[in-house]
Symmetry: C2
Subunit: 262 residues, 2 copies
C-alpha cells in the first residue's frame, strides 16, 4: 500500500493531471480525467474526425496518441480498442480524405473534363488537410469513393477510344499524377511555418543572387520565377497531360472542347 503511494508520487502524475481539466475552452464542463467515459463514447468515426481536426488545427506534430486521447477526453490508450495502432488511424484518415474529395462526384459529359475534375478534387482535399495528406502519404484504401473515381477515369479513357491496355496505363498516369503531386504539395504545406518560410526565402535568395556568368538562364528569368504560383504549376501540368491525351486519343480530339480550369 505504502509502495503504491510513494511510487505514484515519484511519477508526479496527479499533480500534472490536475491541469488537464483546464481545457483550452474553459466553458466545457466534462472533466475527462476524473469520470470514466461512458460505454459507447468512442467510435471509429469520432476518432477519425478528431484526428483530422487535430491534424488540421495543430499540424502533423500534434498528432500523437496522448494528444488524441486528450482531445477525445479519454485515456490515451483507449483508442487501441478501435484501431490497431497509430498507422491504422492514419489509414482511416487517408480514406476519409478521399471520401471528402469525391463527395458528389460524377462523370462529366466530355471525357477529359472527368479526368481534370478527378485531379482537381484530389488536390483540393489534400490541400484542405495538408498534414493529414502528408502523413497518410502514398497509401490508399480501396473503398467505394475511390473505386467510383477509378471507374469514372477508366470509363472516360474508354470514351476517348483508348483500348484496355492504354486505358490501364493512362489511368495510372492520371491517378499517380493526382495523388503524388497533391501529396507532395501537401507535404510542403504541412511543414511548420518557419521551415516553409526558410524554404521560400532560400529560393528567392538563391535566384536573386544567381551569378549571371554561371547561371545565365536562371538570371534571365529570375523575376517571373518569383511570380509563379503552385496552383498555376499544377494546372499547367494537368493541361499539358490532357492536351497530349486528347492528341493521342483515337476519338474526341478537338470535337468537344475541354473546359478551362478555374
Amino acid at each position: 500500500m505504502c509502495c503504491r503511494v510513494l511510487c505514484a508520487s515519484r511519477d508526479g502524475d496527479f499533480g500534472k493531471r490536475d491541469d488537464e481539466p483546464v481545457t483550452t475552452t474553459p466553458g466545457r464542463t466534462t472533466r475527462a480525467s476524473r469520470t470514466r467515459l461512458p460505454r459507447g463514447a468512442l467510435t471509429p468515426e469520432r476518432i477519425v474526425e478528431t484526428s483530422l481536426r487535430l491534424l488540421d488545427e495543430h499540424g502533423a506534430d500534434a498528432f500523437s496518441m496522448p494528444r488524441l486521447g486528450k482531445a477525445l477526453g479519454a485515456d490515451q490508450t483507449a483508442v487501441y480498442r478501435h484501431f490497431s495502432g497509430r498507422d491504422d488511424i492514419l489509414l482511416a484518415v487517408a480514406d476519409r480524405l478521399l471520401e471528402e474529395a469525391f463527395e458528389g462526384f460524377s462523370a462529366q459529359p466530355y471525357w477529359a473534363d472527368t479526368l481534370a475534375d478527378v485531379c482537381r478534387r484530389v488536390r483540393g482535399a489534400y490541400l484542405a488537410h495538408p498534414a493529414a495528406a502528408a502523413l497518410s502519404g502514398p497509401r490508399t484504401t480501396r473503398r467505394p469513393a475511390e473505386m467510383r473515381a477509378a471507374d469514372a477515369v477508366i470509363g472516360a479513357l474508354g470514351d476517348a477510344g483508348f483500348d484496355p491496355a492504354e486505358a490501364a496505363l493512362l489511368y495510372r498516369v492520371v491517378a499517380d499524377f493526382a495523388l503524388l503531386w497533391s501529396g507532395g504539395e501537401a507535404a510542403f504545406h504541412s511543414l511548420d511555418a518557419k521551415t516553409q518560410a526558410d524554404e521560400a526565402d532560400g529560393w528567392k535568395r538563391a535566384y536573386r543572387a544567381a551569378d549571371p556568368q554561371e547561371y545565365p538562364h536562371i538570371h534571365r528569368v529570375r523575376d517571373p520565377l518569383f511570380e509563379v504560383d503552385s496552383a498555376d504549376v499544377f494546372e499547367t501540368a494537368l493541361g499539358l497531360l490532357l492536351d497530349s491525351m486528347e492528341h493521342r486519343a483515337p476519338r474526341g480530339d478537338g470535337r468537344a472542347r475541354r473546359d478551362p480550369g478555374e
Copy 2:
C-alpha cells in the same frame, strides 16, 4: 525499503547498459564504448555518408540518433557538434541525393532531351535511396548541382523559344514533376516490405473482385491493370508532358526528334 526497491527497479537502466558493448558483429575489436574517438574522427561528410548507408540498408525507421551514433562508433550526441539536429542531417542527405543525381550532368543537344534527362536522373537517384528520399521529402537546398540543373532546364526552355514567363512556369512544372513524382514513388518504396505487399495485394484483390455492375470500366481493364509497371507510368507521364511542350514550343516542334526513353 520495499518501496525503494520497487520504485528503483522501474528505471532498470544499469542492467540494460551492460549489453551495449556486445556489438552486433562480435568480430569487431573496436569497443567503441570504451575508447574515446580521436579528434577529427567525425566530419559532416562521414556523418552524411553513414546516414545514407543506414537509410539504404535498414530503412527509414533505422535512422535515429542512437543508431547513427553507433554506426559511427561514436556517442549518439557527438553528431550535434556538426549538425544542429536530425532535420539538419536529413537536409544534407537530401542535398547529397541531388548531387548524386546530377553527377556528370550536362545539357543535351535537343532541348526536350535535357528535360527528360533531368527528370530521369532525379527519379533514378530517389529510387536508389528511397528511404532517404522519403524522409527529405519536399525539401531542397539550393546548392551547385541543383542550380546547374535548374539553369539547364531553363536554358532548354529558352532554346525551345519560350519567353521568360513561360519558361519560368514550365521550369516549375518540370522540377515539380521530377521531385514530387519521384518523391512519392520513393515514399511508397520505403514502406516496410509487409505494408508494401499489403498495399499491392489490396489493389489486386479490389480490382479482381470489382463488381461488374457497379464498376464496369474497372472490370473491363482489370487484366492489363495488373501488368502496368511504375516505370512505364513515369515514362508515359513524362512523354505526355514533353509532347505537349514540343507542341506549344515556338521553336523545335518536330524538327529534331526527341530520343525515346530507356
